[in-house]
Symmetry: C2
Subunit: 338 residues, 2 copies
């Protein structure tokens, strides 16, 4: 088979790879229905995170179980399944507390920009749908694997509840699905900080009530104005830079909640400044597994359509163009037809 | 009258001060029943926080209302009252949300190491007891003004609930009353990090179940051992240094809660490291006013005796010795007889 391999900054190649095989009795092999490119893939793609050896890319996936190891009991060949970017046993104390991405036995899942994928700890990691979904549901099912689950965690970690005033910092796919999640969780007002017209439009479709185009201090001042000088109850930081974090904290009311779900790059927080803001801070690699059953159900019922974040669809062999389009912000998120 | 004035590092003088007078119609003047020295007073005393001009010290107080401004309606002369170190209107959105130390009109209260004190925003700030308490209750009432309220906020901000496993970092008066608060909030296990025998003893009286004398990485390893490799549900950081913050975060389980209630001095948090710990972080200047009615009730009923943290009592004119004793850790906390 052939899949995407990153060799260095801006050097993604579609090349021959060994087909995955069962290595552990707890593994499953999936035949993927679709794959995609993550905003976090852009960190190594742009060279901000160095690539020291060629690396098979991709960690978002859904598809049909092809084969399972002899220890797997909860999924079987022929089922359609979705999993998260971290395999987890779903039985350890951290998993039971809902932090599957901190599972005692967690393993990263990699190489999903390919036709076939090995998923470790299949019983704990994979969730099967009731039936094989129709083609039009595939993008939304795929979104549940990471970007929707991450946006959902952002909203949940920021304590979004009925009536909440929410600010979303970041108009990438995660931020946009943070909007969708906030809407589902009952937010009354959802303010999105965005300067990009197509993203603003999608944000509004997902439930945004206000768009703020100003940034940094001006952006904070605008949020204060919109919230009558109080600040937002909940702020979802969906970027991972110092600027976005400072902006997020500055938009929250005293005692408000700031979540952060993008891996922070070079962000140092001055604890004394943070102290006097009185904000709650919570984030980390999203425990998507916690939310998967609920997200799958919402997609199956047609209550949400997170697949709309894919505004570019390419065949898998054009994966390099998919990276370029996202890097240049021509695409919000690229779906790869396998 | 005479009171404590800080002139520079380790230079506290008991000297003549103008007696406070009503300046605003919302002010009250109190005749103090007792005063004390706060751990946070040691930052400027030690010169870590510079003193640029002589400053009347003290911000913990309880006493009898002597006089009120014409706008004050909720307290009257003759009542025994307790307030917090920040005056607050208790009506603005931040106060209503329980963050009175972020009140839109907050003002610091200062000069309480003296016989008389002016308290601004008296209606919002002061809470009257049902009757004038007996002499033996005064230390516990005084503790409610700051150190107990701060320890209580530490436990609340760390989400301490029935059954929680708690770690307290810091065996100062705030940490010790964090133990008392955690016990009251139903914690099952309370582990205190302390190397000082008298403080360990008081911690046990307040409800500590375990004492850990190791620090930094060894301390974290010991907590992991005591919690079967899981980490603590709640960690109360009651110091405010880089070492204590790092230790606190390292003791928490993934998804656990870390509160911090001492003003952080020179603490920079690496957001990426914090991200992968999955902890919740919340703190700030304790909104003691939120808890005062409950704390006063607990003291009145004799359910708690937070006044035990005062292990040195001096007449007010010996205030400089009170500072020295705390600076040299000969005393946990000094009560000043007014």
């Amino acid at each position: 088979m052939r899949g995407a391999v990153l060799h260095g900054a801006r050097d993604v190649r579609f090349e021959k790879l060994d087909a995955p095989r069962i290595k552990e009795p707890t593994d499953a092999i999936l035949r993927l229905s679709a794959s995609c490119i993550c905003g976090s893939d852009l960190w190594p793609y742009r060279g901000i995170q160095p690539t020291t050896a060629p690396r098979a890319m991709g960690h978002e996936y859904c598809g049909i179980v092809e084969e399972v190891g002899r220890g797997v009991t909860s999924v079987r060949p022929g089922q359609f399944v979705i999993g998260s970017f971290f395999a987890s046993d779903n039985t350890c104390p951290h998993c039971k507390a809902g932090y599957q991405t901190s599972c005692e036995h967690s393993q990263p899942v990699g190489g999903a920009q390919a036709p076939m994928l090995r998923v470790p700890l299949a019983d704990g990691t994979l969730v099967a749908t009731r039936e094989v979904p129709s083609a039009e549901l595939i993008p939304s099912m795929l979104a549940a694997s990471d970007v929707l689950g991450t946006g959902w965690f952002a909203a949940d970690a920021a304590n979004v509840k009925p009536g909440t005033t929410v600010v979303v910092v970041g108009d990438g796919a995660v931020g946009l699905l943070g909007v969708l999640a906030a809407k589902q969780l009952g937010a009354e007002r959802i303010i999105v900080m965005s300067r990009h017209e197509p993203r603003q439009k999608l944000a509004r479709e997902f439930g945004a009530t206000d768009i703020v185009t100003e940034r940094e201090d001006e952006g904070i001042a605008r949020i204060q104005e919109l919230t009558k000088g109080i600040g937002a109850d909940a702020v979802l930081e969906c970027v991972g830079t110092s600027e976005s974090m400072t902006q997020a904290i500055g938009c929250a009311r005293p005692g408000g909640y700031v979540s952060y779900v993008g891996v922070p790059h070079g962000v140092k927080l001055d604890a004394q400044k943070l102290f006097f803001t009185h904000v709650h801070l919570h984030g980390g690699p999203a425990p998507v597994r916690r939310y998967l059953p609920r997200l799958i159900e919402l997609v199956e019922k047609g209550s949400i359509e997170p697949g709309k974040v894919f505004d570019l669809t390419l065949p898998l062999d054009k994966v390099a163009e998919g990276y370029r389009a996202m890097d240049e912000r021509r695409a919000i998120k690229t779906l790869l037809r396998v």
